[in-house]
C-alpha cells in the first residue's frame, strides 16, 4: 500500500473528519486560552524583580496572597456579590423562562427569545454606563422621585453592592433565561398531566416534576452567571466607583499599576481555584438531577 492510499484511508475516517471540524476552534482555544493560562500559572511561581519577572521557582506569591487580609476580604466580597447576582438572576430568570416555555404559543416563542436577547445588542460597557445614568445622583430614578415630590434630596444609589448586583443581574439575565428555557422545553407535557392524574395539585406537580426536570438548566444558569461575574472588572469599577473592588480589580492593580505580575498571577490562580472548587461542589450537590435523562 502506498502512502497516498494510506493517507486517504486515514482522512476518510469519521474520527478524522471530527478532528478536522474542531481543529480551527481547538487551535484558537489553545493559543488564546490555554497558552495565556499556562503563562499565568508559570508567572505565579516566579519571583518578582523590579520591572522584570525573575524565573526562579517560589511559593512566596501564594503565601503573600493568602496571608493578605485585603485579598481575603476582596475575594469574600467577590464571592458574595457574584453569589447574590447569581441568586437574583436565576430567581428572576426562572419565571420568565417558565412563562415563555409554558404559556407562550409555540409560534410566538422565537419572538420572545428574540426580545430576551435585545440587551446583547448594545455593548456591555454601554449597558453598565446606562445603569450609571439610571442610578446616578442626578440620574433617572432620582430625578423622577424628586420631580414627583416623593423625596427632597437624591438617594445615593451608586457605589454599593446592590447597585453592582442590579447591573450584573441585568447583564447576565439572558444567559440564565436561555438554559432554563431549554430544559423546560424538553419536559414532556404529559408528565405534568401525569403528576395531576396521580393526585397531585399543580403546585406539587411543579415541585415534584417540573422543578427537578428543570434542574439541569438551573445548574447551567448558575454556573454561567456565577463564574464570569466573580471575575467582572468593569461593573465594580464604574458602578462601584472603584470603592468596592472585586478580585479582578485587584489583579489588574497588581498586573499594571504595581507591575507585580507574579503576585497578580498568584491572585488570579487563587481566585480561579476557589471558583472551580465552588463550581464543582455545586455540580456535585446537584449530581442526581444531572444524570442522563431520556
Amino acid at each position: 500500500m502506498d502512502w497516498k492510499s494510506r493517507l486517504r484511508r486515514v482522512t476518510r475516517t469519521e474520527a478524522f473528519s471530527g478532528y478536522a471540524l474542531v481543529s480551527p476552534t481547538a487551535l484558537y482555544a489553545i493559543l488564546m486560552l490555554a497558552a495565556p493560562l499556562a503563562t499565568i500559572l508559570a508567572f505565579s511561581f516566579f519571583k518578582d524583580g523590579y520591572l522584570v519577572v525573575v524565573r526562579e521557582f517560589t511559593l512566596q506569591n501564594y503565601i503573600d496572597t493568602w496571608s493578605d487580609e485585603i485579598f481575603r476580604a476582596i475575594l469574600m466580597r467577590s464571592l458574595i456579590v457574584s453569589g447574590l447576582v447569581t441568586l437574583v438572576t436565576v430567581l428572576l430568570a426562572f419565571p420568565i423562562a417558565y412563562y415563555v416555555s409554558f404559556h407562550v404559543e409555540a409560534s410566538k416563542k422565537s419572538r420572545w427569545l428574540f426580545l430576551i436577547t435585545i440587551p446583547f445588542w448594545t455593548s456591555y460597557l454601554i449597558r453598565v454606563f446606562l445603569w450609571k445614568v439610571i442610578l446616578g445622583y442626578n440620574g433617572v430614578v432620582n430625578s423622577a422621585l424628586l420631580g414627583v415630590g416623593i423625596i427632597d434630596t437624591p438617594f445615593q444609589m451608586l457605589n454599593n453592592v446592590p447597585a453592582i448586583a442590579i447591573t450584573l443581574a441585568h447583564a447576565y439575565a439572558p444567559f440564565a433565561i436561555l438554559p432554563i428555557f431549554v430544559s423546560l422545553e424538553k419536559i414532556d407535557r404529559a408528565l405534568l398531566e401525569a403528576g395531576q392524574d396521580l393526585g397531585e395539585s399543580k403546585m406539587m406537580t411543579f415541585l415534584r416534576v417540573t422543578l427537578p426536570l428543570a434542574m439541569p438548566g438551573v445548574v447551567a444558569a448558575v454556573l454561567i452567571v456565577f463564574i464570569p461575574t466573580i471575575g467582572d472588572y468593569v461593573t465594580p469599577e464604574l458602578i462601584g466607583g472603584g470603592k468596592l473592588p472585586m478580585v479582578a480589580n485587584m489583579i489588574q492593580a497588581q498586573m499594571l499599576p504595581l507591575d507585580n505580575k507574579p503576585l497578580g498571577s498568584a491572585i488570579a490562580v487563587s481566585a480561579m481555584v476557589v471558583v472551580a472548587l465552588i463550581s464543582f461542589g455545586f455540580v456535585f450537590m446537584n449530581r442526581r438531577f444531572l444524570r442522563g435523562q431520556k
Partner: protein, 368 residues
Amino acid sequence: MTVQSADRPSMIEFQDVHKYYGDYHALRGITASIRAGEFFSLLGPSGCGKTTLLRTIAGFEGISSGAVMIDGKHMEHVPANQRPTNMVFQSYAIFPHLSVEQNVGFGLRRDPRSEADKAKAVAEALEMVGLKGYGARAAHALSGGQRQRVALARALILKPKVLLLDEPLSALDKKMREQMQVELIKLQRQVGITFVLVTHDQEEALVMSDRIAVMFEGEIAQLADPETLYRRPNSRRVADFIGVMNFLPATILGEANGQIQVEAAGLGRVEIETNQAPGAISEGEASVGFRPETLTILYEGQTASDRETAGTIDEVVYYGDMTYYDVRLDGVDKPVRISMRNVFGRPVLDIGTRTRVAWSAGALVLFR
C-alpha cells in the same frame, strides 16, 4: 367478552357532551354509558374526538355543555387530581428523574400507610405487571414495553374506579402489542376495574373490548359489542372502518316474513333478514355488504348451492395461511375480495380462472 355486563350499574355517563375549540366542534353530543367493570373502547380514525372524550373523563379537558358523571357523581367542578380515574398515557409519561419504584409510588405521597407498607404495595404492583425486581432501575433505562408496565402499575396501585388508556400499545412492535393485549385483558379481569381504551386499531378494539364505541367526527356512530359491530355494522362507514367489507349496488324489491327481497349486482335475487339491515330503508336503492371470509370459492366437484354466482379471478395475494382473491363477479366491474384459508390440498388459483362463488346464509348485510 363472556362477562355478562349488561345488568351492571353504569360507571361513566356522558350526557349530551359537546366540546368546542374555538369554532371547531370536537365533540358533537356524546350520550353514552360505560358500565362498571367493563372493558370499553373508543375506536375511530385520528381526529374523531376519541382522545378528547377520554380526556374529559380524566379531567384534562373541560366540556362546553352537557355532563360527565363518574360513579354517579357530577365531574364538572372536580379537577383531574381529585377524580377517581388514572391514566396510562400514550407516551407513558414515565418520570425520567425517578426510579421505577419512585414512579410507581408517585401517587402514594398522601397515602396514610407507613413507608414499609407503601414499599410493599409498590413491590406488589410491580409483580402484578411482571416487573418484579425492577424497582431500583432508572426509568430512562427501560424498554418501551417495560415503560408501559410501569405506567400500568403506577396507575393501578391507586386502585382507581376507572383506568383510562390512551393508545397504550401504539408505540410497541407487533409481537409485543399482541402480547400486551392479552396481558391487559387478563389484568382487567383480575382487578375488575373499568377500563376505557382509546385506539385507532380496529383489530385491537375487537380483541380486547366488551363493548366498542365507533366514533367519527365527534359523534358515536355505533356502540355495540365486537361481534355485533363486525357482523351487523349500522352504516357503510362503520363497516368500512372495521375490517374489510365488500359492497355491491342493490335494489330493494320488497319485504315479506322478516325477509327483504333484494336484487343485488353480481349476486342476483337474494333474501336478507330484516335484522341484517340495520337502519336500512325498505325500498329503493341500497347496497349489499359482506365480509371477505363469508364468501367461498367453489372448486370443481363441490356441489352447487342455491346461494351461488360466477366470476373471474382478477388478482391473487398469497399470505401463507390465507389467500386473498379479488374476484370480478359477472355483471359487476369492481372486483370483490374473498379470503380463503389455504387448507391442505386446496390449490392456489391463477389470475383469470373462472370460478363459482357461494355465500353463507346471514353473510349479507343491507345498507342504505
